[in-house]
């Protein structure tokens, strides 16, 4: 017979060595294997009527040397350490991500050159919005002039005392005030959308890139 703390110590030492031996595996896989072996040892221990030091050592011997157990996942550990040639995020992908919103023509070329994105991603990157911020800053003044200083005018006819007899408006000014408000809000909303759209597109492309790089290389 040995004391329970000593037995627990033997088991936790063993699991500690196993954890180190499994270090090359992804975290979720390592935890899954450790969890299963922890349960396995606990079940085997519960079958021992009179747990002696030798019994427990035998049990752990049967489970196997940590290096050997980890070796059973060994091929994968090696694979995980050597990144696949086609599934690595390289300078082309990073530049494509950065340049698509900021310097659209070059960014888009890289976007179409890199194998990381599929047709749909490339179309989204190219067209939402076409030109990225270059387009927006080029057209922003036009939109501002056209949108916030709406066309239309009013002609006011006054009598000799300056009282307004008749006022006729055309274009934007002819609309009721609430419609003018809605139109202006719509223009402002469109502007805000145009300003965030390149960033949203870049975030989407980054997300797709991460997904792509997480898949195993073919």
């Amino acid at each position: 017979m040995m004391s329970a703390p000593h037995a627990d110590q033997l088991v936790s030492d063993y699991l500690g060595r196993l954890d180190s031996a499994l270090a090359g595996l992804p975290k979720a896989r390592r935890e899954e294997i450790l969890d299963e072996i922890t349960n396995h040892i606990a079940e085997e221990r519960s079958r021992l009527h009179d747990e002696s030091d030798a019994d427990l050592r035998n049990l752990l011997d049967r489970v196997g040397d940590p290096a050997e157990v980890a070796g059973a996942a060994g091929d994968e550990i090696d694979e995980a350490r050597i990144p696949g040639p086609t599934r690595r995020i390289g300078p082309v992908e990073i530049l494509a991500l950065v340049l698509t919103p900021l310097f659209w023509p070059v960014g888009v070329i890289l976007l179409w050159l890199s194998p990381a994105w599929k047709l749909r991603d490339r179309l989204i990157g190219t067209l939402l919005p076409p030109g990225g911020y270059i387009f927006i800053f080029f057209f922003l003044p036009l939109i501002l002039i056209g949108g916030l200083q709406p066309s239309g005018s009013c002609m006011t006819v006054s009598d000799s005392q300056g009282r307004v007899i008749q006022q006729s408006c055309t274009g934007f000014e002819a609309l009721p005030t609430w419609q003018q408000d809605i139109l202006q809000a719509a223009v402002l909303g469109l502007l805000a959308l145009l300003l965030v759209l390149p960033v949203l597109t870049a975030i989407y492309l980054a997300w797709r890139l991460r997904k792509w790089s997480a898949e195993p290389a073919v």
Binding site: E32, I37, V63, G64, E68, V69, A73
Partner: protein
Amino acid sequence: MPIEGLATQLRKGVIEYCVLAMLRDSPRYGGELVQLLRNQDGLLTSEGTIYPLLSRMRAEDLVDTEWREAPAGSPRRYYRLTKSGQRAVVEFQREWVRFRATVDGIFEDRGGR
């Protein structure tokens, strides 16, 4: 090749399919598979190696898992064959029968006809 190395190589090639075959009739948990393999000479030298194997087969979608309560202690992860696991068993069996016949043929003929 040293003879222990030979046994290890042979075991490595077939253990995965033996485990899959053991799951054909019903889902089993790891400890149960270990018990079954204990009775099979030379197939499982270190019992713990079954768990990295099961974990890999799960990652490869040959098996999936479900939790079931154990009579005592924590719940157990039960492994069962997926569709592609079932296909793998069938393919292995066909391949194995052919392979064994070829090797047996050579040995029984003492290498020539």
